[in-house]
Amino acid sequence: MNASADQWSEAPDEALLVAFGNGDAEAARILTSRLLPRVLAQAQRMLGNRAEAEDAAQEAMLRLWRNAGNWRQGEARISTWLYRVVANLCTDRLRSRRSVGLDSIAEPADPAPSAAESMVDQQRHRALSDALAQLPERQAQAVALRHLEGLANPEIAEIMDITVEAVESLTARGKRSLVALLAGRKAELGYDDH
């Protein structure tokens, strides 16, 4: 690793983004290695499809590059901003699935599924993603941030720019809707034992 990379390796993300906005390409490489895995994982968990998740992750990173020139240190955390951008990009993509309806649920949809996912898990993941697509977007985002990303309600409130009480309400309503959408498909998704 060269000297400049060492110099930047300890820098906070926000400082790197400002450096990139000033034309420093090394900063982009370090930011990509730091942020892209998490961005891709969030998109994959929400969309249940690798190709769609990669496109959403690339778009989120592009928006980061485009905002670099306007970023002011101390104003916002990049991680919070990226959670919001990825959630918005994913709900945009989920919206396009609504016309397909729930009949397609549980079909193997990802041509390149994660090796770590069993067939049942793939089907459940895709079914959940399709059910999230049927929810109002703010409910889907709150549920995903809480139960797929594992974030605490205050952090979700900051990401979504709402109160903690609003997060709790959105999450509760979202989960009720998910149960209604998914309960009828328990048998085909391997829930015979419950």
Binding site: N2, G23, D24, E54, A68, V120, R124
Partner: protein
């Protein structure tokens, strides 16, 4: 809430959430290059050619020609990955005949690409 307090609905959703939380593989080289190529284009669009930044010309990045080369490299890498997975029969025949059946060429490893070596 303890496990015994969970309702049947909670348990149902837990199964779906758990499935969606399965580990996600790391970004591959093709996606990483797409993202870096976007960054390079954005610098160029803003009139900030990264070639002007001394750091941009260090190590492998400078060696391959900086940002302008990344778009082509990304496309070439994607094509190379695809050919590696699904070589056309004619290509396979030619390479087998000329070079033997086992041929593997790696120009850039992910460690080189991400600067995590050494």
């Amino acid at each position: 809430m303890t496990i015994t307090d969970k309702t049947e609905d909670d348990l149902l959703l837990d199964g779906f959430f758990e499935a969606a939380r399965a580990p996600v593989p790391a970004p591959d080289a093709a996606l990483t290059l797409r993202v870096l190529a976007d960054a390079g284009r954005e610098l160029a669009r803003q009139g900030l050619p990264a070639a002007a930044a001394p750091r941009a010309q260090t190590g492998w990045f400078g060696f391959i020609g900086g940002w302008p080369s990344l778009s082509g490299l990304a496309a070439a890498t994607a094509a190379g990955v695809w050919i590696g997975f699904a070589p056309p029969a004619s290509l396979s025949d030619v390479t087998s005949a000329v070079l033997g059946d086992d041929l593997s060429v790696s120009v850039f490893s992910m460690e080189n690409l991400l600067g995590t070596e050494g």
